[in-house]
């Protein structure tokens, strides 16, 4: 971290501490929430009616109607929202999710997928819709359909029609869905992928249950006007977590996102002229279960990617075709590898290497006979290679007390050692040690000497070592001729701390 970033963090923290913040919820908070929901609910009710009325007038001439008809008493109607046509009892409400705010703010709706594209409920009032369990028994079910990135792989790539399957959900404590049964289904139709979720009140009648299941079965789908804007290229399991690799078409080109149940990562802004593999990675799991998902884009011609890990294991994966509507030029890959540094090779159809790449934090580089065992060591830093992230370290011994006196006198000194310490350095061997990715550089703040440290910048530290002199950064001083304590963990230097010497 450099001085500007350091100051910036401190200024922001300082300013944030000065901001008065609420320590309790204001009176009337719930009323405010309800009032806002009532406004939204009014809009939902009116807009849903308008949508249904408009569709009833034109449905038979503009859109095909499925052969399945919902059971139950009363007439049915057919409506279409976001390219989904559904037949349902006329007394129910087909709700436009965007107008109901189900996709969040308008800014959230700009994110194309996933996005709720249809909701069906027996009621249309805002808060009732939001919390059926408090609606006095009128709201006996709620179904939402969410459009997902086009599934080219995985269970959601199953073609329509599909069955609703029970979800394991404990809703017994929920005030909004007390004791409800839940179902879900995922499928792909007309080049689009959907997921439906259905919750049913235990008080729902058999006719109502049959009717909602028939409504679900009646759905038919039209292709998206926008074409394929996002696609799930592949799915897998790493570190005990399910993950999906999703390609999305955005204004600045292809974006890849890796989504796990609890974490994920993404990359974009790819260099289209690059002949290298453009690679990212994300680790799932902990300890021995930890695994790396390596993913990225390949240059033209590559059909397979092979990964060699530091432990000697090799994995490979075929290149994944990114739909042309998302990106006509780039294709992608994803594979699972052990944690640590991974070397990647891209092969063409004839087996020739056409691209290379690396990713992952470097494992400790084995340098036979020159490494230090884990622990804290004293000595001198003789050079710093900030690019290779290594240091040359001259191991010495920092003695104090009687040990220091004895060594001092053995070296020709008389009496007690000055300042109660003595450094022994009679082995000239230099050790090249790798720096951990998050190595901490604790330097003495000589302006507030000598128990205050600051986190130093590796490049400036290297400059001071190279010049064997002082390098200043504002008020901060990097001393090239200091002595250092380094902490070694798993063969890598995790901390370098400056030793005060008068």
């Amino acid at each position: 971290m450099n001085d500007l970033e350091h100051d910036l963090r401190e200024v922001l923290d300082e300013d944030a501490r000065r901001v008065p913040t609420p320590i309790s919820a204001p009176e009337g908070l719930r009323r405010s929430v309800r009032r806002r929901q009532a406004v939204v609910g009014g809009v939902v009710g009116l807009s849903a009616l308008a949508v249904v009325a408009g569709i009833v007038a034109g449905a038979t001439t503009l859109l095909p109607v499925g052969s399945s008809q919902p059971a139950g008493e009363g007439p049915t109607t057919t409506g279409t929202l976001n390219g989904i046509t559904i037949t349902y009892p006329q007394a129910w409400s087909l709700i436009d999710p965007d107008e109901a705010g189900l996709n969040g703010s308008s800014m959230m709706a700009e994110v194309p997928l996933p996005r709720i594209v249809l909701a069906l409920a027996p009621t249309d009032a805002g808060e009732t819709f939001g919390c059926p369990g408090q609606a006095g028994g009128a709201a006996t079910f709620l179904m939402t359909v969410q459009e997902e990135p086009l599934a080219l792989d995985g269970p959601s790539s199953e073609p329509w029609p599909v069955d609703l399957r029970a979800m394991t959900v404990d809703a017994s404590e929920s005030a909004c869905y007390p004791g409800w049964d839940f179902f879900r289904a995922g499928w792909t139709a007309a080049g689009r992928t959907f997921e439906a979720r259905l919750g049913v009140d235990p008080a729902a009648t058999t006719d109502e249950r049959d009717a909602v299941l028939a409504s679900f079965a009646s759905m038919s789908f039209a292709s998206s006007y926008e074409g394929v804007t996002a696609a799930t290229l592949t799915t897998g399991n790493a570190g005990g977590q399910e993950w999906s690799l999703i390609a999305t078409r955005q204004s600045d080109g292809l974006t890849l996102s890796l989504q796990g149940a609890s974490s994920g990562s993404g990359s974009g802004g790819f260099d289209r002229s690059s002949q290298d593999l453009q690679v990212s990675s994300h680790a799932f799991g902990d300890g021995a279960d930890r695994e790396l998902v390596v993913y990225g884009v390949v240059p033209e011609g590559a059909v397979r990617v092979e990964a060699s890990s530091a432990d000697g294991s090799v994995t490979s994966a075929d290149v994944l075709d990114v739909p042309n509507e998302i990106d006509p030029d780039l294709n992608a890959f994803a594979l699972v590898a052990p944690p640590g540094s991974v070397e990647l090779l891209g092969y063409d159809a004839s087996g020739e290497v056409v691209a290379r790449g690396t990713v992952g934090a470097p494992e400790p580089a084995p340098v036979p006979g020159a490494l230090l065992e884990d622990g804290r060591h004293f000595g001198y830093v003789r050079s710093v290679d900030a690019d290779a992230r290594t240091i040359e370290f001259d191991l010495a011994y920092f003695l104090s007390g009687e040990e220091a006196n004895a060594a001092y006198q053995a070296a020709g000194g008389t009496g007690p050692v000055p300042n109660d310490h003595f450094v022994v350095n009679d082995n000239p061997k230099l050790r090249t040690l790798p720096l951990a990715p998050d190595v901490r550089l604790r330097l003495l703040d000589w302006n507030h000497c000598c128990e205050t440290f600051f986190d130093g910048d590796l490049a400036l530290f290297g400059q001071a070592i190279e010049e064997q002199g002082d390098v200043t950064d504002g008020d901060l001083i990097y001393r090239g001729q200091s002595q250092w304590w380094i902490t070694v963990e798993n063969g890598s230097v995790t901390e370098i701390e400056e030793q005060y010497s008068p």
């Binding site: 929430v33 703010s105 994110v111 005030a175 919750g199």
Partner: protein, 174 residues
């Protein structure tokens, strides 16, 4: 997605939950808004409004556990909208109010210069800097809050830092 969430769970099922949610998330929301707008009073209104809006829609979200991120996005969105709404005149007055201290006033040094330079950044750059250096979000998370890609966040922060470096010379240079 956890199957215990989905459309079934609501963190605002009763008054106590709503209060807890408010007490838990509002301080961070207010601080975030204050740092982006530079206006603590306005920040209270922005954060409160964002909270109400988020809670109203929270009931319908499929991932209720994402409320914190959703609220953060609502706050950032409201802050940038706040700047968009400002007229040229208001922007001028705001600029006057944040003008560096006259030379005869006490010199508060580099940090005050940094505050002035920070407040002069374009709103989205400022928001990106606050999300990265105050909220400690990753580029990906900051992108989600700003509604853009991680690469765009990296670019905005780099431009902002370049501007700040140009406006805040190193101490030994002054």
């Amino acid at each position: 997605m956890s199957q215990t969430t989905g459309i079934v769970r609501s963190a605002v099922d009763d008054r106590a939950d709503l209060d807890d949610l408010y007490v838990r998330d509002m301080p961070d929301a207010v601080r975030l808004a204050a740092l982006i707008t530079g206006d603590p009073d306005m920040a209270q209104d922005i954060a409160h409004d964002a909270f109400l809006r988020s809670v109203g829609r929270f009931r319908h979200l499929r991932q209720p556990e994402a409320f914190e991120a959703y609220l953060r996005r609502a706050v950032v969105n409201a802050c940038t909208s706040h700047f968009r709404r400002r007229t040229v005149e208001a922007a001028y007055l705001r600029g006057q109010a944040r003008h560096p201290a006259p030379v005869d006033e006490p010199d508060h040094g580099r940090r005050d210069e940094l505050r002035v330079a920070l407040s002069a950044l374009p709103p989205r750059q400022r928001a990106a800097v606050v999300l990265r250096y105050y909220a400690d979000l990753s580029e990906q998370q900051a992108g989600e809050a700003l509604g853009c890609s991680a690469a765009a966040v990296r670019s905005m922060v780099a431009r902002a830092m370049q501007t700040l470096r140009e406006r805040i010379p190193r101490s030994e240079d002054t």
